[in-house]
Symmetry: C2
Subunit: 385 residues, 2 copies
């Protein structure tokens, strides 16, 4: 069989490929977007996991939208109005894929920030969307460029990660959130707000969801991979009921429903008395690692490397002078440190700004410091200024 046309231009995920290489014990990996296994709240999940064997109904076919009690919990926890609904997905990645399949025709225009989450580039690529990019500034999307895009009147949706962006770590200011909400309403564009890192704020003040400024012009994607565990593959989409219903229809064909036992375990975890403490410990640990990494960078990398402080999430974005970032990342791997070059996060290769994405959640402060030592050598030889 020949590949479908929609698949012919899709590259396999660089990150998924590098993760298998980066497993070697000689390599310090700052490449993945992995939470630290040692932080997984398995103690809080132990009782629920053991109790599953007494709950046969969880092992039967279930509702496509998700496990009823979990959906009820989400409705109350996220204060969904009666005109809104939720659908549990096999990871928020599936939520995004369902949205693209339900609402995007080939050549439909989709706006993304540049750089952007690789998994989103893949999804909209598979949907054969016409992707338009808007640059990111320190406080969020370039609003002038965004409005110019929207004003062309043929944009279906705007995909964004306002909290601790992947890969840059940028967090939208309140003003940007309000303006994006206003623009989405004014130009009738749907904001797809992807919020996997929202609960990982370890500094500064929490800001409202951007979608809260355009509740009927938005869908929100949430992930439980960062605050619970990734392996259970559970995410959530919420928004207008008339937009959630089509996602249900696609999900019937896509996988009928997501794992019911895992949904029941997640509900118990989210409701566990100790869950808030677990999140506190997680934020505390990630803050220390992030600060450690930024200290190492400041001390050990040439001053032409620039890094912006972040207030949460899992990544910092290391800006470099003009260089071949792919060759640099390859060389770094040979020197025992895995990083992701900026090139993989751009739809349009001409827009690539030389940078590296560095993950700080899955290595100790000591390992992060060693990684920067290794990286320093490589950067100096690749970016001779």
């Amino acid at each position: 069989m020949l590949l479908a046309k929609s698949l012919q231009e899709i590259k396999p995920s660089y990150i998924r490929e590098i993760l298998s290489v980066a497993n070697s014990p000689d390599i310090i990996s700052l490449a993945g977007g992995l939470p630290d296994e040692a932080t997984f709240p398995l103690t809080l999940m132990q009782k629920s996991l053991a109790n599953l064997a007494n709950m046969p109904s969880l092992f039967q076919y279930g509702n496509t939208a998700g496990y009823g009690p979990l959906l009820e919990y989400f409705r109350s926890c996220y204060q969904l109005p009666s005109s809104h609904d939720g659908i549990v997905c096999t990871g928020s990645q599936q939520g995004l894929d369902l949205i693209a399949r339900a609402f995007i025709n080939p050549n439909d225009k989709v706006v993304m920030e540049a750089p952007s989450y690789l998994g989103a580039i893949q999804v909209f690529g598979l949907a054969q969307a016409n992707i338009e990019s808007v640059a990111q500034q320190a406080d969020g999307s370039d609003l002038k460029a965004l409005e110019a895009c929207f004003a062309k009147k043929d944009v279906v949706l705007f995909y964004a990660v306002p909290d601790f962006h992947n890969p840059t770590g940028v967090c939208w200011s309140l003003a940007v959130r309000q303006q994006v909400g206003r623009l989405c309403q004014q130009y009738d564009v749907t904001l797809i707000e992807d919020a996997p890192y929202r609960e990982l704020r370890f500094k500064g003040e929490a800001l409202p969801l951007a979608s809260s400024f355009c509740p009927n012009h938005s869908l929100v994607l949430r992930s439980f991979s960062k605050i619970a565990t990734p392996g259970i593959r559970l995410g959530l989409v919420t928004g207008r009921s008339d937009w959630i219903a089509p996602l249900n229809k696609v999900k019937q064909a896509a996988d009928l429903h997501s794992s019911m036992p895992m949904q029941a375990v997640l509900l118990d975890l989210l409701q566990h008395d100790e869950f808030a403490h677990h999140l506190e410990r997680l934020r505390h640990l990630y803050r220390a690692r992030c600060e450690g990494l930024i200290n190492s960078i400041t001390q050990k990398l040439p001053s032409y490397c620039r890094v912006q402080a972040v207030e949460g999430g899992m990544f910092v974005w290391l800006l470099l002078p003009t260089c071949d970032v792919d060759a640099l990342a390859k060389s770094a791997l040979e020197h025992g440190v895995a990083v992701v070059p900026s090139s993989v996060f751009y739809q349009d290769s001409e827009a690539v700004i030389p940078a590296l994405r560095l993950n700080f959640t899955n290595a100790t402060i000591e390992a992060l410091d060693d990684a920067i030592d290794r990286l320093a050598m490589v950067i100096k030889s690749h970016c001779a200024i």
Copy 2:
């Protein structure tokens, strides 16, 4: 947002809709394709489930193709040659969806048996395939019609359920399997062999997979919903490595990977000393229920209702004289018995043969007998001959 064109013609699954109605205690449901919860091998899974809390690596992001040890087990269990691979899916439903997304362009020709599995009609409908139907006979597909279809030279794939077909229960003879294998090779058509009911044979002799007669012109879908449990959502696709690789690429975008803890539990179950006994008990129970249902039908329904004996699976197909099957099924529901009318299993409404799909796995022999009592009344009033 407007619905994508591909979704506009897709009806929500009648079966998923009726399942929510058929939950009422007053209704005996023969509508679902549900295994009996009471048979779930939770005792055999108990230790694995409880032990998950000690295995943090299972809760991390994992490989898209599946949990390594489970893939190894499948390779050995299904004797995959070195040129073939497997990919674990979120139910075999996802496997089918990945195949359609990887290999079908809009208007590509796909051949299916008529009637056919509703979930497959949905998947190929979403892929905007041009579906051509071939009638089913007592021993499998109508080979003359199939060859005539293939001879037109533009068929990409042939989707079939050779073992205990859903909805008809038909099991392909050895000769049909051999001939289909030969035709697929001769006309370069890929056989998508969906085998969810294969292990549920309770009579007669096991036959080789149809795909074994065209191993490089086929992909095999397996489900663990019927022999393990549906709620864990795990299935498998196997076939040529160069056809499994594109499925991996689509799955990266679709959900990254399927639940790792559930994959580990499934592996333990499949390797459990008592698993073979579990399957024996399941087959014994389903055989008794199937025989009970056919006895009730023979004794209580008018002689113009015809039912064919089955040797396994979950369904019998009750052929009726010309009547409005949708009205009949609706009336049956009002009289306390849920069944699925044949109309939902046909892509082409003009080809519909009046019949009902009756599931025998999720009700006791007594309940099945009561259901036929109720159905007798309804049939007599709808099929006045």
